[in-house]
């Protein structure tokens, strides 16, 4: 009870820290000057219709690279966590009920759609909402479905690892290409800008997003596999 009481007091304190501070701010009338620069130049710099994508992939490309790394590290970590468990000899197999008819049939219909949707999302990231992460996660969800529906029994580790490694390495390589062929690290402008608003535009942004998509997809699949195979 006393613990509750202190917790409440703490909460009150926190609320009194947070709310007065945010209460000082009301709706903004315009974006910040930096954002203004992005909005004005974004199209000319990278030819991306989706300014958020331009920010994510190019202006703040290093963040995104880091983000991929975080995911990568988490995937590696999770697989280590569960590997440790397997090593401890707790590998009693749970009996898995066979997938139902609906699941199997549904999966057969849905899987291609899901994969295509995923790929679409990351390829079109520079034009519409979406991008590599979203696409990758959609693909991973397809993999999950495939597991449930029994379409895949075991993930081909070599293949997944290959995709993961290759995509990641290519991402870094593209970044380095930016140094040598264009202005700086992760500069997508070493590829032609193309026509604004079309699929093959915005330099290497679609390439990067595709690589991210592949990488995220394979990483997420890896996580799913790590948890599943426990």
């Amino acid at each position: 009870m006393i613990k509750r009481f202190f917790t409440i007091i703490l909460m009150v304190f926190f609320a009194s820290l947070f709310f007065p501070l945010v209460g000082l701010i009301s709706d903004r009338d315009s974006v910040s000057s930096l954002a203004k620069d992005y909005l004005v130049q974004g199209r000319d710099d990278f030819g991306a219709a989706n300014i958020v994508t331009a920010v994510v992939v190019s202006y703040r490309g290093l963040d995104t690279l880091g983000e991929v790394t975080v995911l990568f590290a988490a995937a590696a970590g999770i697989s280590l966590v569960f590997k440790g468990l397997r090593n401890e000899g707790k590998d009693k197999k749970y009996r898995v009920n066979p997938p139902s008819e609906i699941l199997r049939t549904g999966a057969r219909v849905l899987l291609p759609l899901i994969f295509i949707f995923g790929v679409y999302i990351f390829i079109n990231g520079h034009l519409t909402p979406g991008g590599g992460f979203q696409g990758g996660v959609v693909i991973a969800s397809g993999i999950l479905l495939a597991f449930f529906a029994g379409n895949i029994k075991e993930l081909n580790h070599g293949f997944v690892t290959f995709i993961e490694s290759a995509a990641g390495f290519s991402y870094v390589a593209v970044g380095l290409l930016g140094i040598w062929l264009a202005g700086g690290f992760l500069d997508p402008r070493f590829l032609p800008m193309g026509e604004f608003g079309s699929l093959f535009s915005a330099g290497a942004i679609p390439v990067i997003y595709s690589l991210i998509g592949l990488k995220v997809g394979s990483e997420m699949s890896g996580i799913i596999d790590a948890i599943r195979s426990y």
Partner: protein
């Protein structure tokens, strides 16, 4: 106005999440609490980017005069949130996996069920 409402939402989410972390003893509930806090912060960040009557910062061929350009919401917080969400996801996933190990080891779902590390 919109911003402030969103702030209140964000603050409420954070506080509810913290409350959950502090008072629930089930590990998974604690992690849910943590997710709530995380989400609250994301809402907060998105709210920061809000501009009165702004639209999404996505252009098509026509929609590109300077005036309309500036009538979008701030794209930077959106980009940040994108990153933050993914990172939050990674953290939550890892946290869950640790939780699984912890629960299997302690044979209890309670977070303070078996304290082997203290002092």
């Amino acid at each position: 106005m919109m911003t402030n409402l969103l702030f209140i939402l964000a603050g409420a989410l954070v506080l509810v999440g913290l409350w959950g972390i502090l008072t629930r003893r089930n590990i998974f509930k604690i992690i849910i609490g943590f997710s709530l806090v995380d989400t609250g912060v994301h809402v907060f960040l998105v709210a920061i980017g809000y501009v009165k009557n702004g639209t999404a910062p996505i252009f098509d061929k026509e929609y590109s005069s300077l005036h309309s350009l500036l009538n979008t919401v701030d794209p930077i917080p959106s980009a940040l949130v994108l990153t933050a969400i993914v990172i939050g996801l990674a953290v939550t996933a890892l946290m869950l996996s640790f939780a699984v190990r912890l629960i299997l080891k302690n044979r209890t779902l309670l977070v303070d069920g078996k304290k082997e590390l203290k002092w």
